[in-house]
């Protein structure tokens, strides 16, 4: 039913609640997504936001406890085998077959998808060539570096030309060089029309790659749209945060006027820091530092974030992304 509309992924009020010994833990609390064919879609949120559970449900490995989801037009609960035929998945953890070599990992995955041994070894050779790993073909998969393993995982997810490629935190724990390298590969795949859904907790990764982004936290989608839509909509403000050595006295008189400054939409004072959301950041930082010193507070650190997905997240959740 979703196939007709050209949607690669669609969810309706999708939910997952884990039942444990300490009661029910809702991981995903009713999300609606739609990803069109050929799109590069990013699911952005901090660790524990429910991104992996969402990807788990879309890839049939996690059973939803409510709502519905379709991938490539097929219901993930009613037809998991059909969905698995049409998706490639790069899990967050290294799920390479440790008993096999690099080439065998690709060959056997190809054969799982019905290729003959001959086709499988040809496909493996092609993938190794493209991913620059031909010289590693005989190495055991346990001997690969983190970046190489990640590349092999992506190659393995592509053996059967999936309609949708799922990547769960593909660059988590990688060094910056390797990350940029993987980004390039993903961009090329997308340019060739590959539909990609990626989860990430790196703002810059979503900004660098994704056409469409959904910001997720506590199992809910807080906002979605293109990166620029999100910035214009909720996060077109600069966020200035100043932390002091001591707790911030709620009523430092010098700050009383801040909220009335032109462009300032919000001032938050909490614990040891003060945070100002403004469209006209000029001079605000200096003022906060000076006023703090006047009140006897020592500045520990100060940040000024230009409008970005990070400020979008701050605005939506009211908390720092890295907290």
């Amino acid at each position: 039913m979703t196939g007709e509309t050209g949607l690669a992924i669609r969810t309706e009020d999708l939910r997952k609640t884990y039942t444990g010994s300490r009661g029910d833990v809702p991981a995903v609390r009713g999300i609606d997504l739609s990803v069109s064919s050929g799109q590069f879609f990013g699911l952005l949120g901090p660790n524990g936001a429910g991104k992996s559970t969402t990807i788990g449900m879309l890839t049939t490995l996690v059973l939803p406890t409510g709502g519905q989801a379709w991938v490539a037009g097929l219901d993930v609960v009613a037809d998991p085998v059909g969905v698995k035929r049409r998706i490639g998945v790069v899990t967050q953890n290294n799920t390479l077959d440790m008993q096999l070599t690099v080439a065998e990992n690709l060959e056997f995955r190809s054969r799982f998808f019905g290729l003959s041994p001959r086709e499988a070894s040809r496909r493996a050779a092609q993938l190794l060539e493209v991913f620059g790993m031909t010289d590693k073909r005989k190495a055991m998969s346990t001997d690969l570096s983190g970046g190489q393993a990640r590349r092999l995982l992506i190659a393995r997810a592509l053996v059967h030309r999936p309609d949708v490629l799922f990547l769960d935190e593909p660059t988590a724990g990688l060094d910056p060089q390797t990350r940029v390298n993987l980004w390039d590969i993903l961009r090329l795949l997308h340019a060739e029309g590959q539909t990609i859904l990626l989860t990430t907790h790196y703002m810059e990764e979503a900004e660098a790659l994704c056409e469409q982004v959904a910001v997720m936290d506590h199992g809910r989608i807080l906002a979605s749209g293109t990166v620029s839509e999100l910035k214009d909509g909720v996060g077109a403000e600069t966020v200035i945060t100043v932390r002091y050595e001591d707790l911030v006295p709620e009523a430092v008189t010098a700050w009383a006027g801040l909220a009335d400054r032109p462009g300032v939409s919000k001032v938050e004072t909490e614990g040891d820091h003060i945070r100002v959301f403004t469209r006209e950041p000029e001079g605000v930082l200096g003022e906060l530092v000076t006023a703090g010193s006047a009140a006897g507070l020592t500045v520990r650190d100060a940040t000024q974030l230009k409008p970005s997905l990070e400020t979008v997240f701050l605005t939506l959740t009211g908390r720092d992304y890295r907290e």
């Binding site: 884990y18 788990g56 890839t59 049939t60 490995l61 996690v62 059973l63 998991p80 085998v81 698995k84 035929r85 998706i87 998945v89 899990t91 953890n93 290294n94 799920t95 390479l96 077959d97 440790m98 008993q99 096999l100 065998e104 056997f108 995955r109 054969r111 799982f112 998808f113 019905g114 290729l115 041994p117 086709e119 040809r122 496909r123 092609q126 993938l127 060539e129 493209v130 991913f131 620059g132 790993m133 590349r151 592509l158 053996v159 059967h160 030309r161 060089q177 390797t178 390298n181 390039d184 590969i185 090329l188 795949l189 340019a191 060739e192 029309g193 590959q194």
Partner: protein, 308 residues
């Protein structure tokens, strides 16, 4: 500092892994059409098992050979040589109604059965516990285009094949390693029945291995030996025939919950019929019924563990 490293020529090498756009285009355009069927995927998974088996053949072989080899060496060679009459008379007493039966005869089916259990657990439970812990590598095969239950059945079949091979390796050892005049009395009249019993005994241990692998807490793996393997073997009619237990009636009845008993006794019935053994209908009922029950339970818990 960061700016200089970013533009350092050394990093160009790092980018060698970035493919050409045309290569990526070919990757997508030239991809062979996947046409998976349940049977193809199943066969491919079995082929993977055999690839891994052949790679580890030497260590697997050594593991399979050492225990039974040392066992028959000590009990069928060393003991008779050093005049270990107590062992012989013990064995004879255990099989008193069958006349002069040496211990080697008792050991042939017993050690084969014990090997079946051991291999079933080693081949299924251990890898499974690994696959479920740490990196959850089970997800690799869970994403293959077949229902999860097929994956479970494939694990049982692969484990059963290993068990079967293990038993075949043990057979010549227990048959030929003994002191002069201490040869076991092996006499097979029904090869088909032997094959049937070996096949179902293998499937039973592999099914049990699957169930254990899905319910065991990985941190308590050592308990497997103390709580499952050791009692199953010691009380599994490996070292004495079931019929001899009539001296201890309560034990003879109690051991009937042990699947190992039926494997030992089934093999005893077809390999060394000279020895008293359990009725064949009981053996077959237990082996086939046990396989069905354990395979069903194992597949259920496996599916639950994979799909959380």
């Amino acid at each position: 500092m960061t700016t200089t490293t970013r533009h350092a020529p050394a990093d160009v090498a790092e980018y060698a892994g970035v493919p050409e756009a045309s290569q990526v285009a070919a990757l997508i355009a030239d991809a062979p059409e996947p046409r998976p069927t349940m049977l193809r995927t199943f066969n491919a998974m079995m082929a993977r098992e055999f690839r891994v088996l052949s790679r580890n053949a030497i260590s697997l072989f050594t593991r399979a050979v050492m225990q039974p080899l040392l066992f028959v060496f000590v009990f069928a060679y060393v003991f008779p040589k050093i005049g270990g009459g107590f062992m012989l008379s013990g064995g004879a007493a255990a099989a008193s109604h069958t006349g002069s039966i040496n211990f080697a005869t008792i050991l042939v089916p017993g050690l084969m059965a014990s090997m079946l259990l051991m291999q079933g657990i080693m081949a299924v439970t251990f890898p499974l516990v690994m696959e479920f812990s740490w990196q959850r590598t089970i997800e690799d095969r869970a994403l293959a285009p077949v229902p999860i239950s097929v994956l479970a059945i494939q694990k049982i079949v692969a484990g059963a094949v290993q068990s079967f091979i293990g038993a075949c390796i043990v057979f010549p050892i227990v048959l030929f390693v003994h002191a002069a005049g201490q040869a076991p009395h092996v006499h097979v009249t029904n090869w088909a029945l032997l094959a049937l019993i070996l096949v179902f005994a293998s499937l039973l241990t592999a099914s049990l291995g699957l169930l254990l692998g899905t319910i065991m807490d990985p941190r308590k793996m050592q308990m497997l030996f103390a709580v499952i393997l050791l009692p199953a073997t010691m009380l599994g009619c490996v070292y004495y025939p079931w019929s001899a237990l009539h001296h201890i009636r309560w034990l003879q009845i109690a051991v009937l919950i042990n699947p190992m008993v039926y494997m030992s006794e089934g093999l005893r019935a077809v390999l060394t019929p000279v020895l008293g053994h359990m009725p064949m209908w009981g053996v077959l009922l237990a082996l086939i019924g046990g396989t069905v029950v354990f395979a069903y339970l194992g597949t259920r818990t496996f599916t639950k563990r994979v799909l959380n």
